[in-house]
């Protein structure tokens, strides 16, 4: 049986994009974010104890990183006594999804030339074509091809 090469019918499902601007994040900033996502909230001292000590980083450096995340809008904070307690403004899944979308050039006009993605899958494919292809593959498997 010769499998005919025929055009695929697509039905494009348009989704309004959820755009979140992701600033550049350094390793320490990511480590702080991961800590806060895991714990819910943390002070600079707690964050230093968890991620700074093992990296040989001072408390001031961790404080600066948290301050930067606050200014980037990724952390919110409340003052308790003399110290701030930081919590995440953006859920982890949402930030990671937005970052991935940025890298893949999903919602902007960036050419994203340095990415080769395996699929283009915002579309719902014609069920009949899918079924035909599946049947063909099944047939080939049964014939041992």
């Amino acid at each position: 049986m010769v499998f005919q090469f025929s055009p695929v019918v697509h039905v494009k499902v348009e989704k309004k994009p959820e755009q979140l601007k992701i600033p550049k994040l350094g390793d320490l900033e990511v480590a702080v974010l991961e800590l806060i996502w895991a714990r819910g909230n943390a002070s600079a001292k707690e964050a230093h104890g968890a991620v700074g000590l093992s990296r040989g980083i001072s408390l001031n450096t961790v404080q600066s990183a948290m301050e930067r995340l606050y200014r980037k809008g990724l952390l919110s904070r409340q003052k308790y006594g003399h110290a701030y307690r930081y919590s995440a403004s953006v859920p982890r899944e949402r930030l990671l999804a937005a970052l991935i979308n940025d890298v893949l050039g999903r919602f902007n006009n960036d050419s994203a030339s340095s990415v080769a993605a395996i699929l283009d899958a915002a579309e719902q494919y014609d069920a009949e074509t899918l079924a035909l292809i599946e049947a063909e593959i099944k047939g080939r498997r049964e014939r041992g091809e």
């Binding site: 350094g26 893949l104 960036d110 899918l130």
Partner: protein
């Protein structure tokens, strides 16, 4: 000095004219010269040639005009310029054109240069931002080698990065596929790295800077499709056609699930599956286009030299 500027202005007009002509030809070539029946390699070759046309054709014509001027200066060809009248600028170093260049000419030339600089600058900034985003993504991803795992429920697999390209795969993809399918997807992405596809795409995008907006989109789409099909073919050699087609189909179906829906700048997987399943005899190669293209560009250069008098007359009308 003004005579040299006049000569430069003529060359600029030549370059701009041929750039416009080649840009007008590109949509026609995209429509006619990239049938899906050709192998991905053949289509890639044609895409390179089409993408390079707005650069190659003006370069050839301007070089030919420059050579003509030089040839007269060095007495390689007979100097017949003295027989031309006023209002007929010469592409000639012996009799540099006496043109009155003023603000309009400066504005036009400056405008072109500014647009080119703007596009190049924007491209450079895009690449720099992309590098920053990738660095941020790597900080979230697990693994430290060429393979990075992203904690995302969606079905994702991509190769990324110019300086140190890596493969990224998502938790969603690992859960959605069986072991063999995962190996095929990984091999596909690794094929992009091994064959320098990301660098080639970068250079291709550089060429697209010289194209009009809609034409460059069509070329970009075709290029990405071809890149993915080539990677598919490389993986077919190792796993077999049916296995690769089946893996692609599994990825497509998994990505259609609600959590899996994602629009990325990739290629059409169902078209790729159908191509894989098509008979090998239906896939053609052809060198005719490349030869024809080369001959046409060369002919443009030769025509510039042979018909330079008519060209000078045309330039005289324009200036």
């Amino acid at each position: 000095m003004s005579a040299f500027l006049g000569f430069a202005w003529l060359l600029f007009l030549l370059a701009a004219g041929t750039w416009l002509l080649s840009s007008a030809l590109v949509p026609l070539l995209v429509r006619l010269a990239l049938p899906v029946s050709l192998t991905p390699g053949a289509r890639a070759q044609r895409l390179w040639l089409i993408a390079a046309l707005p650069l190659l054709l003006p370069f050839t014509v301007v070089s030919a005009a420059f050579f003509l001027g030089l040839a007269k200066k060095l007495d390689w060809i007979h100097d017949h310029c003295v027989h031309h009248g006023i209002g007929h600028p010469h592409l000639c170093f012996e009799h540099l054109p006496q043109l009155f260049l003023d603000y309009p000419q400066a504005l036009v030339a400056g405008g072109f240069a500014s647009v080119l600089l703007l596009l190049s600058g924007r491209f450079a900034i895009q690449q720099w931002r992309q590098a920053l985003r990738l660095d941020s993504l790597k900080a979230f991803a697990r693994g430290s080698g060429r393979l990075r795992l992203i904690d995302d429920a969606r079905v994702l697999a991509f190769a990324a990065g110019l300086r140190r390209p890596q493969v990224f795969m998502s938790r969603g993809l690992l859960h959605a596929l069986n072991r063999r399918e995962r190996r095929i997807v990984l091999a596909h992405e690794a094929a992009h790295l091994r064959h320098g596809d990301l660098t080639k795409t970068f250079v291709f995008e550089l060429l697209l800077l010289l194209h009009f907006p809609l034409a460059d989109q069509a070329l970009r789409r075709s290029w990405r499709q071809v890149m993915e099909e080539r990677a598919d073919d490389r993986v077919v050699n190792r796993f077999g056609t049916t296995a690769v087609a089946s893996a692609l189909l599994a990825v497509s179906k998994a990505a259609m699930q609600p959590a899996g829906a994602l629009s990325v700048a990739g290629a059409d997987p169902l078209q790729r599956v159908q191509r894989l399943l098509a008979s090998p005899a239906e896939r053609k190669q052809s060198g005719v286009f490349a030869w024809g293209y080369g001959a046409a560009v060369l002919a443009a250069g030769v025509a510039t030299v042979v018909a330079h008098h008519d060209l000078e007359t045309l330039l005289g009308i324009l200036v």
